[in-house]
Structure formats: structure tokens, C-alpha cells
């Protein structure tokens, strides 16, 4: 316990780093994933902007990237990270890698939620003379919003998980803290405390997501 108290300043920093990485990723992956997921959905046959070629290319890209283990993904995109963030170590570099990786996961969740939007409502908007882009923004996304918010809170858990592996590129965070101060020094109380904090974070994220989804669904 004394070790933990001694490490307390690092612990607070670790919480800050985790929150930083997770929230950057939630926003960036949220936006990128939404765009990619909408593109996957609207280019399907019979959808708003059917385009077989684009749909196949997008699907192949998503299917290639998604199964890559995050820890390998981080290493693989180092050149890209360097080009965008101008460094390949630290919390910002980790946030970039998490964002990119999560965007592909988010895109599938978005696509699945949009499939459940009533096609009749989209047809009604078409019958009213709405442009496909307008239908996407004013009909498709708002109608799918409730389940989308739930999908995002599901992803939040995955982001916390990914952030725990960010230690390998010096991203810091709670995962890194638990390994450096807990696992490697056989200090199990530190591991348990850190895990407890991660659980609380996840719970809060899920709770907030549920509350937002309830509002969107008015239930």
C-alpha cells in the first residue's frame, strides 16, 4: 500500500491519460466511423446511393483492418502516426492509433443500426423530393440515433481496453500503470485498485450511454 501511495501522482496522471485517449478516440472514431458506416450502408444495393464497386472496396478495407490485433495495428501504422501526429510515442500518438482502429469497428456498428431504420421512412422522404444527402442527415441518422448511442457506449468499453495497451508506445494510462507498478513488481493490490478504477470508468460510460439512448428513444 505504501508503494501505491508513493505512486499516487503517477496514478492520477494515468487516469488523466486514459481519459484523454478514450475521449479523443470516442470523438474522432465516432465521427470517422459514422461517415464510414453511413457510406457502407447507403452504397448497398437498393439503398440511397447504391454503388457496388464502392461498397465492395469499403467492405474489403473494413474486413482487412478489423481483425488485426490492436497491438500489431499500432506498430503497423507508425509511419502514418508520425505523419499526422509528428511523433509515434506518447498519449497523443496512442489516441490517434486507437481512433483509427476504433473507427472501423464503429463503422460496422453504425451500418448495422442503420439497417434497422424503417425503409418506409426513407421512401417517404424520397417521395417528398429530398436529396439523398439530406435524407442521410435529416432522416437516416436521427431515426437510427437511439440504437446508435447504445452502439457508441458499447464501443467506449472497447476504447478503454485499447487504451490499456497504449503503454507499448509510451501512451501511459491505467493499463500501463497496472503493468509497470503492479504486475511487474508483484504488487497485486495496485493491480486490483487499477482494475477497479477501470471498471468504474466503464460503468460510468455505459450509464451515460444508456441515459442518452433513453432520451433519444423517448422510453
Amino acid at each position: 500500500m505504501d508503494d501505491f501511495i508513493a505512486a499516487l501522482p503517477t496514478f492520477w496522471t494515468a487516469i488523466g491519460q486514459t481519459l484523454y485517449m478514450v475521449f479523443i478516440a470516442l470523438i474522432v472514431a465516432g465521427i470517422l466511423g459514422l461517415a464510414l458506416g453511413v457510406a457502407l450502408f447507403v452504397t448497398r444495393a437498393g439503398s440511397l446511393l447504391p454503388n457496388r464497386a464502392v461498397n465492395i472496396v469499403l467492405n474489403v478495407i473494413v474486413n482487412i483492418v478489423r481483425p488485426i490485433p490492436f497491438i500489431i495495428f499500432v506498430a503497423a501504422i507508425t509511419p502514418l502516426t508520425l505523419a499526422v501526429v509528428h511523433t509515434y510515442i506518447g498519449a497523443s500518438a496512442a489516441a490517434f492509433a486507437i481512433s483509427l482502429s476504433a473507427a472501423f469497428a464503429v463503422s460496422r456498428i453504425v451500418e448495422q443500426n442503420l439497417v434497422s431504420v424503417d425503409p418506409g421512412v426513407i421512401e417517404a422522404a424520397r417521395a417528398m423530393g429530398a436529396h439523398p444527402f439530406r435524407i442521410i442527415v435529416t432522416v437516416l441518422i436521427p431515426e437510427g440515433l437511439g440504437p446508435l448511442v447504445l452502439g457508441y457506449s458499447f464501443i467506449f468499453v472497447g476504447l478503454v481496453d485499447m487504451s490499456a495497451q497504449a503503454g507499448v508506445i509510451g501512451g501511459g494510462g491505467l493499463g500501463d500503470f497496472a503493468i509497470t507498478y503492479g504486475v511487474q513488481r508483484y504488487n497485486w493490490p495496485i493491480v486490483y485498485i487499477t482494475v477497479a478504477v477501470i471498471i468504474v470508468l466503464v460503468q460510468l460510460g455505459q450509464f451515460a450511454g444508456n441515459a442518452l439512448a433513453r432520451r433519444a428513444l423517448r422510453r
Binding site: D118, G120, V121, R126, A127, M128, G129, A130, P142, L145
Partner: protein, 361 residues
């Protein structure tokens, strides 16, 4: 779609003209012909009913009228525009001038009733406060002003369809397409919504195309009717003309759902068990003293007659139906009486007497 001084715009000038239109869908393992060489006019100011069983192609046909579907061949005109010759961008403008309502209402769940009605106005670029005023007027017209701030899931089916109608009328379209608009509603609500559509037609002068598989909807509001079967329009014309003397099985089938027609084989069998005389079904025509004339024809030949089955209904304020008589008397006299009826232009079908004698006259 106003057409000032367009060549000879007669009162019955067509608002929609469908010319030799076919629509084929590609499906797994082949193609399906949904609409097969259909030509049809929708006259300005009328309510045209298109009736058919599910799969007859009527929903596809109505979607060709606002270019939600484009035909495989043939041409579609709405007002002065040939939809089949317009680019998608212009079609969007045309669609704003054509209202549409749906079986499942298709309201935006993420928006309030008022915002649903306002949606087409936003698309058309109508600004506040004009937009609010129009929304209020429309909701008042359909009797749902007090529900303006409710969400669709708080409404009953009939109320949802009223909102759908208000939304479809928001841009003052001259044409309204109703795709099975009452098929998800109970009979009482159906009658309310049909009455509202009739008001839309009469008070606002909106031309309406009603797609349905329910004869009741046609009977309640349509002026003319087209009967669809297997992608084709098999009969069309004035509602009374088509349904008082159906020429196809499809039309006759719909007639039987609301009007008494010739008895079914099962009914005939039951009738024969209790009535030993010859059974003859007479098609009711709309003429004063019709039944008296029939009775007179039988009496003149000394044939006793009694109505044992059938009924008379009204269609567009005219009588229609069928009456089955039990006739007792010499066979020759009955034959003479039937010949007399035929001479007067009254259609009679001999249902026979004995169970083994059921051929048509």
C-alpha cells in the same frame, strides 16, 4: 404543374398519363414483371381507385407516377412533364408537387407531429413564420391541431394516417397518391380516413389515386376504378359500370367481397336442399321498378316466383346486386319467361333445379 393555356385543357384532361409502361425487377434467379404494358389516365379532379390482390403490381404502378420507380419501358406524364425524360434532380422537384401516403404511415419517429408536417415545407424552402402557419392550418384541416407537439408513437393508427395526409398536402400538391392508406386500419377508422380523403378531393380539389385491395375503399370514394391482375389493368372505367357487370374473374372476385352476387356452389347446394323449384339468378340493374318488372315477366307466363337469396346494394348512388329466384311452373313457361327477361336486357343465370342440372343458361 400549373398549365396555363395548355392545349385544350378540358375539364377531364388527364393529370397523369401512363403510356405502355412495363416494369421488370431483377431478382435472384430471373426477372419478375411487376407492371406489364399498362396504359392508364388519371383525370384532373377525380379519385381513381386501383384495386388488385397483393402482388398484382399496383404499388409499383403508383410508384411510377412519382418516379420512385422508373419504368423498364413506356412513358409517364404528370401534368406537362414527362417523368421518364427528366434527370433525377428535376424529378426531386416534381416529387415535391406530388403527395404520397402509405400503409404503414412512414412518419419520422424522431420528430413531433408538427415537425413531420413541416418536413416537406423545409425541403421546399418555406421559411418561418409561414411554415408554422401552414402546419397549423394543415393539422387543423385533419383535426389534429391539439396533437402538434406529440410524437408519432403516441398516436393511434387513424391519427397517424391523418398526420400522413397533412404532411402529404403540405406543399399544396395537385396530386395525392395513397398506397394502401387504410389497409392497416380497423373498419371504423378506415371510414374516417376515407371520408377525409373525399374532403381533400372535394374541398381542396386534389386529384387522388387510391391503391387498395379493399373493395370498400373503392366503393366509398372512387369515381373510376382500374382492376389490376398479374401486372395488367384488366378492366377500367366508371366504378358502377365495372362492378355492376364485371367482365373478369378478378373484378368479379372483388365485387363478391361487398356485393351479393351469384350464390357460390356451396350456397347453391344448401338452397337446393330446401327449394325444389328451378333457381335463377337475376343481375340487378339500376332502373326504377326493376324488381317489379322481373316479377311481372314471371307472372305473365304463369310462373310462381320467390326470392330465396341475394341482395341489392348501392354503388355511387345506383342499385347493384343480384337476386336468386326460386321458380315453380312448367319448364317451357320458365324458359319463355327467361327469354322475355333477356329481351328486356335483363341478365339472368339459370342455376338449375336438380343437383345434376347446374349449367348456365
Amino acid at each position: 404543374m400549373s398549365e396555363p393555356g395548355s392545349a385544350g385543357a378540358a375539364p377531364t384532361a388527364p393529370l397523369v398519363r401512363v403510356e405502355n409502361v412495363s416494369k421488370t425487377f431483377r431478382v435472384a434467379g430471373g426477372t419478375v414483371v411487376a407492371v406489364d404494358d399498362v396504359s392508364l389516365d388519371v383525370r384532373k379532379g377525380e379519385i381513381l381507385g386501383i384495386i388488385g390482390y397483393s402482388g398484382a403490381g399496383k404499388s409499383t404502378l403508383v410508384r411510377l407516377m412519382n418516379a420512385l420507380e422508373l419504368p423498364t419501358s413506356g412513358r409517364v406524364f404528370v401534368g406537362d412533364e414527362e417523368l421518364t425524360a427528366l434527370p433525377e434532380k428535376r424529378l426531386r422537384t416534381v416529387r415535391r408537387e406530388i403527395g404520397m401516403i402509405f400503409q404503414q404511415f412512414n412518419l419520422l419517429r424522431s420528430r413531433t407531429v408538427a415537425a413531420n408536417v413541416a418536413y416537406p415545407l423545409r425541403l421546399a424552402g418555406v421559411r418561418q413564420p409561414e411554415r408554422d402557419a401552414r402546419v397549423a392550418r394543415l393539422l387543423d384541416f385533419v383535426g389534429l391541431l391539439e396533437k402538434a407537439h406529440s410524437h408519432p408513437e403516441q398516436l393511434s393508427g387513424g391519427q397517424k394516417q391523418r398526420v400522413g395526409i397533412a404532411r402529404a398536402l403540405a406543399t399544396n400538391p395537385p396530386l395525392l397518391l395513397a398506397d394502401e392508406a387504410t389497409s392497416a386500419l380497423d373498419p371504423e377508422t378506415t371510414a374516417d380516413v376515407l371520408a377525409l380523403l373525399k374532403r381533400v378531393n372535394q374541398e381542396l380539389g386534389v386529384t387522388i389515386v387510391v391503391i387498395t385491395h379493399e373493395m370498400e375503399a373503392i366503393r366509398a370514394i372512387a369515381d373510376r376504378v382500374a382492376v389490376m391482375h398479374a401486372g395488367r389493368v384488366v378492366e377500367h372505367g366508371d366504378v358502377y359500370e365495372v362492378f355492376s357487370a364485371p367482365r373478369t374473374d378478378a373484378a368479379a372476385g372483388f365485387v363478391r367481397t361487398v356485393l351479393r352476387d351469384r350464390p357460390s356452389p356451396q350456397t347453391l347446394e344448401r338452397l337446393r336442399r330446401v327449394h325444389s323449384g328451378r333457381l335463377v339468378t337475376v343481375q340487378v340493374r339500376d332502373a326504377h321498378g326493376f324488381t317489379a318488372a322481373v316479377t311481372r315477366a314471371f307472372a305473365a307466363r304463369g310462373v310462381e316466383n320467390e326470392v330465396v337469396f341475394g341482395g341489392i346494394s348501392e354503388l355511387q348512388n345506383r342499385s347493384v346486386g343480384a337476386l336468386t329466384y326460386e321458380l315453380t311452373g312448367p319448364d317451357a313457361a320458365i324458359d319463355d319467361a327467361l327469354a322475355d327477361l333477356a329481351a328486356q336486357g335483363i341478365q339472368a343465370f339459370d342455376e338449375g333445379g336438380a343437383p345434376d342440372n347446374g349449367e348456365l343458361s
